[in-house]
Symmetry: C2
Subunit: 329 residues, 2 copies
């Protein structure tokens, strides 16, 4: 269960998860061994969920992000895919799309049962070759399998660490990264609203521990592509522009957790989802005040989720070489 915002400066052993947002489910597929060290994580929100995205890194690998611009026709998102495999891995979005179409989930374009176009945006992390084989990247069927997992009874529980799209993730080029998640339940005027995040931490930057104020030691030559990608979700009712702004604010959680981040060698991308179960005030001043609190919470859950992903990671051995865990944990 999520804790309260008053504990924001301490990192609890378990900080809740993105599935604390009612109706949000997660499915993960992990491919390890025999050259593989990669996977896929799917976030499956309830029908009618409004989506947005902010791409802030210099090396993004993304799919269907333009459809999430608030100036476009379709405000809803059927699933979000986070994947390993760099641009090759984006094909997993089509497996998730196939699953959604079979379920009749998608933007309706005709009267027939299957006449839908599922909106399944995706972002990828670079992990090519980390398991030993460059071509061992997730395929369309892996995406389908992750969607099935999200819809299964296990879809309300989030595994963390070396799992799903975090399987091949590293931080600071040598420490094991992974999947992290966190949630907060708001009080006051937004009593009961849940704001949560799931991230895949694959950053060039090193973590800034809670309370740290200075930068991490400078890095040497940056790797080709490093990326933290993730999803922020809430049950608050946000319109497309508000949910896009929430994705923007959420990137501040990356800035507070990792240094450096958002550089040319990162592909940092965050999606935001609003299920709309809990309406925010419609009166403008009260609404803006509520949005500020929801968006500030979005940054905080991203910060916590990054640290959660590092704390949950375990060392991984590949061909006798160890990727250790971050010693700051």
């Amino acid at each position: 269960m999520p804790d309260s915002p008053s504990t924001a400066d301490a990192l609890p052993a378990s900080a809740g998860s993105i599935t604390d947002v009612p109706g949000v489910r997660v499915g993960q597929v992990t491919r390890r061994g025999d050259g593989w060290l990669t996977g896929v994580t799917v976030v499956l929100p309830p029908p009618g969920t409004v989506g947005g995205v902010d791409v802030r890194g210099g090396g993004p690998g993304t799919h269907e992000t333009d459809a999430l611009d608030p100036r476009t026709l379709v405000p809803t998102v059927d699933a979000v895919v986070l994947t390993g495999g760099s641009a090759y891995g984006l094909v997993t979005a089509h497996g998730v799309q196939r699953w959604c179409a079979e379920q009749g989930r998608g933007f309706r374009v005709g009267p027939g049962a299957g006449e839908v176009v599922p909106i399944v945006p995706a972002a990828a992390v670079f992990d090519l070759g980390r398991g030993g084989r460059f071509t061992a990247h997730p395929d369309e069927a892996t995406g389908y399998e992750a969607a099935v997992a999200a819809a299964s009874p296990d879809g309300t529980t989030v595994r963390r660490g070396v799992v799903g799209a975090g399987t091949g993730a590293l931080v600071g080029r040598r420490f094991k990264g992974g999947v992290g998640t966190a949630s907060l339940r708001l009080d006051g005027a937004e009593e009961g609203v849940v704001v949560a995040a799931l991230v895949v931490v694959n950053a060039a930057g090193l973590p800034m521990p809670p309370g740290a104020t200075g930068p991490s030691p400078p890095l040497g030559r940056s790797p080709a592509l490093n990326t933290t990608i993730g999803v922020v979700a809430t049950d608050a009712g946000l319109d497309p522009a508000e949910v896009s702004r929430t994705a923007t604010t959420a990137h501040d959680g990356l800035a507070r957790a990792l240094d450096p981040v958002h550089t040319m060698s990162d592909g940092d991308t965050l999606f935001a989802l609003a299920t709309g179960a809990r309406a925010l005030p419609s009166e403008r001043a009260a609404r803006v005040a509520s949005l500020v609190r929801v968006q500030a919470a979005a940054a905080e859950v991203v910060r916590r989720a990054v640290l959660d992903g590092l704390l949950a990671a375990e060392p991984v051995m590949v061909d006798g070489l160890e990727f250790p865990v971050w010693p700051g944990g």
Copy 2:
């Protein structure tokens, strides 16, 4: 061969093609009959080509467009995919990506022969169900086949009309659309520079004939998704920001050829490619003057390519129902 800019107000019978840009090749696969009316068009530029994009429609279906932002790490594009099948058809980009990887084309991320990540952005037009079967959309193998066609001896010739990604295209909800292409060879300070376009015309709007000044008759209920997508290419040397601006300017060719366009029911997306074979002046004022002429030509070739696509289209019968050609042709 391209004609000169001085004939800009008249539409020649053949207005040149995008393969007039040295090194640019086109491959198209057409799927017609037995429920199918769709296809794929691949534009394959020479290695080192710089790419940009501008997404201006309200219902875009796109892939890997964020990587083309001029603020990102990788300035080059390995291929551009235009496809039918709406968001389902974007999977064809992965077939083209597979072909590029086999050829060693892509952004290098390691020392091994195949250690590349091909940058293959894509955009889709909505043609689902137009051949009679909603699920008859192009797949990964169709994309691969189109890449092979682009690299074949036929890749220097562009078929127009009801072909490739234009196979299922319509304009004004009832007239047959298709693939069109055009080119211009500049003179003066940009002597010999070629600017060319290939577009897939699938617009809600009706064509504005050359010289028309008023709007077309208002449309009734807009269809779900209509889209004109395309590629502008030049052999001028443009940097990533300049090529992105060129994509923006090129959209004015759509505004001059179609009305309405760029609305919530369109997914209009144009890519721009600069092979860099012909350097523009480096002195700032002269360079800006050259850019203005290249970019104005980009808008003009898009306008001509749209009209070319309509003129090249032929009527198509599906289940006894005819999609006629545009009578203005």
